[in-house]
Symmetry: C2
Subunit: 216 residues, 2 copies
């Protein structure tokens, strides 16, 4: 037999700038699917269009790839939003409507929705990482929401309730939606409209938080 076809394949090109990002994007997918331990460096490499050795030109170890990945998406949408929210003066209803619409969109279409799953899965193996996320993302998000709700209480827009707990009530359906999309939806569950779910959530929540002597 003759050689079937000489592979021409300008095999690879140098792309020093782009590599780290591409590798992390690939890692996001593979870690989300397999978890840390079961993810093979060769899988990540293949998905990034390189070979295993290349990863080690940019990252010292598998663990460091994982940690870089988990840190990469911190401070993006959410944390900046927290700053803007601090001196927001509109109503609680308005604020949460905007917030949940944006978040709902990200859940339905965004790539980042898999990150919480990764953190949940590996919190046992990487306690420092879980703590990092708690302080950098969760505490900040809850702090922001607590502030908004507390302001709503002062203003008489919201009845007397413990604001820190209501903040968690706010995000619970968001967490639920993320898990649904990343864990349940792939098992061919009946279709689920996240936008509709979150807007119902907001409707019920705000009605449930109205003061007794309600405005006409």
């Amino acid at each position: 037999m003759s050689v079937p076809h000489e592979k021409p394949a300008r095999s690879w090109s140098r792309r020093k700038q782009a590599r780290p990002g591409e590798i992390l994007d690939a890692a996001l997918t593979v870690f989300a699917e397999k978890g840390f331990a079961a993810a093979r460096m060769e899988d990540i490499a293949a998905r990034a269009g390189v070979t295993k050795g290349t990863i080690y030109l940019y990252f010292p170890s598998k663990e460091e790839v994982f940690k870089s990945l988990a840190r990469k998406h911190v401070g993006d949408t959410l944390v900046n939003a927290a700053e803007q929210a601090r001196q927001y003066e509109g109503s609680v209803r308005e604020f949460l409507t905007i917030l949940l619409t944006v978040v709902g969109n990200k859940i339905q279409h965004g790539e980042v929705a898999v990150l919480p799953k990764i953190i949940i899965a590996e919190s046992g193996n990487f306690p420092e990482l879980a703590r990092f996320w708690r302080t950098e993302v969760i505490d900040k998000a809850l702090g922001m929401l607590t502030g908004v709700i507390a302001k709503g209480i002062e203003r008489g827009e919201v009845r007397q309730v413990p604001a820190e707990y209501v903040a968690r009530l706010c995000v619970a359906p968001v967490v639920m939606s993320i898990i649904w999309r990343t864990v349940i939806a792939p098992t061919d569950a009946v279709p689920f409209d996240y936008q509709k779910f979150l807007s119902l959530h907001l409707d019920v929540l705000l009605k449930g938080l109205e003061p007794e002597g309600r405005k006409p």
Copy 2:
């Protein structure tokens, strides 16, 4: 130096009946902590007070240990409750109060709270298992709640809302609590009272679901 101390090693005893349960209990802890891939059979064995080989007398493989574990706790509290709930005739408020109290207790103290975390983490590696849980636990629980709420709507106790979505609103804070306990709480987050949280949830939810023309 002399040999420090001959390990007396009250060697072992035969306990055919008890072993499988003990092994699964050990596996629950180790899988919850490390995830499937990173959990070592020797860790599970040690925690169960046996050696690795013993596990293979009772289970054919690591995967089968994991699956047995995941199946073991299905049909316990929740699913039986679903049957009883079907012909429950009390109010929605009463029903949910009882349910969330029981569930809240399990979350705060129960061993089983780590299972959802395991399922979430390994859904990518064991799609069949994720589907099994979805059909056997999630669909049934949501079905039960949807039924209760639909009945509440008919009865005029609850305003006109899509019952399947409200069912998810019901459980979202439960999911949130489970994740909080198994993922966030170990990072020394500020103490969190699950009972209080869930009762606030119920309070806000029911108020949010009241019909417009409310009873005096």
